[in-house]
Structure formats: structure tokens, C-alpha cells
Symmetry: C2
Subunit: 348 residues, 2 copies
Amino acid sequence: MSGEFNFIEKIRRRSSQSGQRPAVIPDLHLGIGDDTAVLGEESGRETLITVDLLVEEVDFRLDYAVPRWLGHKALAVSLSDIAAMGGDPRFALLTLGIPPSLISGERNGAEHFWEEFFDGYFELAERHGITLIGGDISAVPAQMTIDSIVMGHSRKGHAVRRSGAQQGQAIYVTGEIGAAATGLRLLFAGERANQSERCLVQQAIRAQLAPDPRVEFGRRLGRSGLVGAMIDVSDGLAQDLHHICNESRVGAVIDAGELPVAPCLDLLGLEQAQRLALALEGGEDYELLFTAARAVEDQLREMAGPDLRLSRIGTIVDQDSGNSAILIRQGDEHPHPLKVRGYDHFSR
Amino acid sequence: MSGEFNFIEKIRRRSSQSGQRPAVIPDLHLGIGDDTAVLGEESGRETLITVDLLVEEVDFRLDYAVPRWLGHKALAVSLSDIAAMGGDPRFALLTLGIPPSLISGERNGAEHFWEEFFDGYFELAERHGITLIGGDISAVPAQMTIDSIVMGHSRKGHAVRRSGAQQGQAIYVTGEIGAAATGLRLLFAGERANQSERCLVQQAIRAQLAPDPRVEFGRRLGRSGLVGAMIDVSDGLAQDLHHICNESRVGAVIDAGELPVAPCLDLLGLEQAQRLALALEGGEDYELLFTAARAVEDQLREMAGPDLRLSRIGTIVDQDSGNSAILIRQGDEHPHPLKVRGYDHFSR
């Protein structure tokens, strides 16, 4: 039949090849191919749902994109939201707005682009047990758009909200911060992905183009019931911590020296203050930022395992209504208010 | 704070003003404002989920759009998918890609556009008891994009699939067909919406710009358990019936004289054959097309009520593998194969 239905049929088949057979997936009663997908429900459980829009020229550029990594990232950003609720991601829907240059059948490499894109998408999906159950596609006149929807589960009452931070809890962040922002600057400066190299430049670019969401650790944190508040670092650590403080009506004091600033930031040759600002304000790290009692830190580290860095970066304090919600301490200095800046889609 | 967060906060408030208070909505455990929304589950129930992408210059044009109706349509197209499963729509998420001309704060009418847009969106949401629980927004360089997600429920095993049509069942369609396609032609020819007029031209334009999904009737059909297969007429009746035949492995015979062709098609001055083709191939009617035993027709008509037209347009027959799946009969003629054409996003 037509191009549009061929394309959908290809995705449907590709999805089945990934071992994503509806018949054997619990709770999947109907996947791609009808007016809606149909999922089973279970009492004592909650459904989590999130959606993320990625737009060409705003969130990515085709001149530096690695199609496989773009497919990976489309799913990764939404998996990260489920992880940030302590949930168990299960199902995905994907909407694609496809520009003329990427409509296949024109011998323009589009076929290859989509094969790579879906290789990246399904590779990540399989790794975490996610099944694609629906979506929509449309031609678009210009920029490519990707809308990524992920659904997951958590035990009733166990979803970790932004509003649960309490005075006295420690603040933790996984991995390193600032690498994705560094990667973006390097891409803008003309560097490109080169999968054969393992240098800092490539680490930064990979952090930007193919972030690894903390799915398994998020799931464990949710089940443990040990976490106060959690969010993923997508808008920049300062802004995301501000969201937690705001929703929890608390303040925070951060130790600058404890921030796990990615080593690749050194590539940019910034002065110390600018380097710290980029680490705090650069977005898209997709690390988990959460609060928990100091007393359970050993348990947290055991859950994180030997391969996932976990840094205690500060403490939740009483809200001081007269001042900024977040203070930052550098060395022995008196803490000073942290300016909260992050990414704003409308300010560009 | 920033423009992006202001915009989201406005939608959140607008959503609450609509009486959409999370505290009093069953199963809504957490709405807009965290990493994900959180919904309660219930055993014996199924979750239905659908997503529809609407793209400026492809699915609508701002030069003829009525902002209020665009907001209405964004939700309507997804409600229609839930109705087509016989489900009960409950929750919505909305993703907006906003072009520079519609970013507010520039005294360019954007503020007014979004007020009207959300008036239309929430008016329809309230009418059917839908709560907005999440979404995403981004600036886009050029065309506006809308991705509309709706979730609903049905009793376990009661979702009506495309694959349930059986030989001997009658084929029914609600309302009239071809009005939306007529409206689109009139808009392309320079006609515009004028809410004060009630003429055929305005009926056709309204069918295109502000379709009314058959939410309540769909819900009743699903609960009744009387329906074999169902789909909504979005790609054109011929193509949508083809989907049913394909998934159910059956054929169909249609009586041309029984098709509820919208009177406004006469405005286009087409010859009989072209008129019939437009009614069968013109998309976006958002009527329900379904199969059921003739024996329950009285019950179906009672469920439809006095205000919703219900037409029996043909019969499901055995699949004749040598021929086209769908035959059409005109008057006393021998039935002939129906060409299946509909809207293909990639063929333009």
C-alpha cells in the first residue's frame, strides 16, 4: 500500500524482531495497529506517564546527529523521567514528524537513516524491557520533530515526587554533571562524533548525543522507599534542585567542592567560576538528583553498585523566605545564594 | 520566572479553573508539575492510550484556523480514537511546538491565540470529563506542531478492536460523511469560518475545523458488548473499512444508496461519481464505523438516541481472496470492487 502505511508496518515488524512479541508481554493486551493500544491494569499499582518533545534545530541538529544515537536519545529522555519517579518503565509510544529529506523511497539515504534510528531506539528499549505500543507519523514541511511517550508502573504510593524533600536530608546526584553541555559546545565548535575514539572529547559528545538514563537505579530507589524527593537533571542541576525546593517548600545548601563535575569540562578552558556555572546550569545530564536521610547512605551506595558514582552534594534546610532557596558554599567561605538559571525554550 | 515555565503555569492554572481539581478526580494521583503524571490502576479494567500528531501546513493552516476550534480539534481527534475502541476517555497530555510568531510577550496577538486555543481545548475536555495531566512544550523554528495524547478505560476484554468483524454482520456508520473533506475544499477556495452563519458552507467548514467525536455513543457501544469491530472514520470510509476487513480477514459489500453523504457536498458541483468518491475517500469525518448483528439494530438505535443519525450501509461477507475485499453496489447493478484510496501523509 502507501508509503505511510509501509513505514508503520516496517516499525511494527522491527518491533517484533526485537523479541517484543505482544503475546508474551504481561499487561500488553493490544499493541501497534488499532485505534488505541490496550494495557491491563492491576490494583495496588500506579501508572506513570511522561512525554518529551525533541525538535530539530532546537534540541538536535541533523548535521551532527548520529541517527542511531538520536533514536537512543528519543527514548532515553523519557525513560529518565520514569526513573526520576522511582518507577519501572514498560511501554512507549513514538510520534515522528518527518521532513521531505527523510521520507524514504527517494534514494537519499533516508532508508538508512531510519534503520539506524530504530536500531538505537530498540536497542535501548530491549535493554530495559520496554515495548513500543503505538504512535503517529506525519510528513512535516521543515524541521523533524520527535515526541516520545513512556509509561511505567510503581507500587501504589511509591512514586517519588519532587515535593517530598525534608529538612535535614542529604542531597545526592548520580554520575557526573556538565558533560552534555560540554559536548554541545564542542559540537557547535565543529567537533563530531567518532565512535572509534575514547578520548574526553568523544565522552562529552556522547553524553550530549546518547545519554544513559539511570533506569535500574531509579527503579531500585523507588522500591526502597528511602528517597524523599527526586528529579532528573534535564534543565541543569541548579534549576532542577530549585524545582525540588519549590515543590517541597524547603531550602538547600550545596557544597561546590562535592559537585561531580565531569572532567571533560576542562576541555573548554573556562575560568573556575564559568566552569562551575556550566556544570550547574548546563542541562541534559539525565542524572538522578534526590534527597534521603544520611542514615541510609550505605544502603543507597549498595543499590548504586560499584559502577555508578553517587555524590552527596549538600543538605536540605529550612526555607528562609527572605533569601534565595539555594545557597552554595565554596571552600571555607560563607554560603552565598545560587543564581538559578537553566534552559528556557522561549528565551532563545 | 522564565517564559516557558510561565506558559506551563498558565496552562496548569487554566486547567484548575475548568473544575479539573486533581484532589476530586478519581484515579488521578498526580497531575501536571512533576517528572510524570501518576494514575491509579484497578484490576478488571484496561487502559487505552492513543496519540495524534497535527502539523501546521499539513493538517491545518493558521491563515484559516479558528484558534478555539484548533484547540477543540487537537483533543477531538484523540477522543475519537478512544470512542472507536468503545472506551471511556479520562486523561489527556498535550505537546506543543510553538513557532516564533506564537510565543507570547511580543504583543503580537499570541496571548489571545493561546487563550482561545485553550478555551476550545478545555471546553471539550470538560464536556466529556477529561483532565489534562501533562505534556511538553518547545519553541520550534517554523511550523506549529500539536501532539495530542488521550488515555481512557474499558472493562477488561471489552475494548472493541478492528479485528472482530464477522460474516453476516451489518455495517453501520454514525452521522454523515464527506462534510470535512468538503469544508477543506471550501477553505482552500477562500471561504472562511463565520460563526454567525448557519448555512451549508459553514456546516462544512465547521465539520473540518471543529469535528465532534462520538464519545458518548462510543462509550455505550463498548459497554454493550454488541459490536464486532469498530474504527473511527479518519482516513476516509473506504480506507477505514478496508482496515476492518484486513484485520478481521473478511470482505464487505456496501450499498452506495445507503451512504449518509453530507448535503454540503452538493456545494462543490461534482458529478455523481466524483461526489461518491469524495464521500468515501475524504478523511476526517470522525464518525464511528462498526459492525454488529442485524438482530440488535433496535438496541443500537436506542443507544444512539434521537439526535445521532445511524445508517446501515452494508454487510460483512466472506473474504473472497481472488477479488478486492470491498464491493460496492449502486442501485440494481452487480456489485463492483471498491478502489481503496485515502489520505497518505507521504504521498503529497
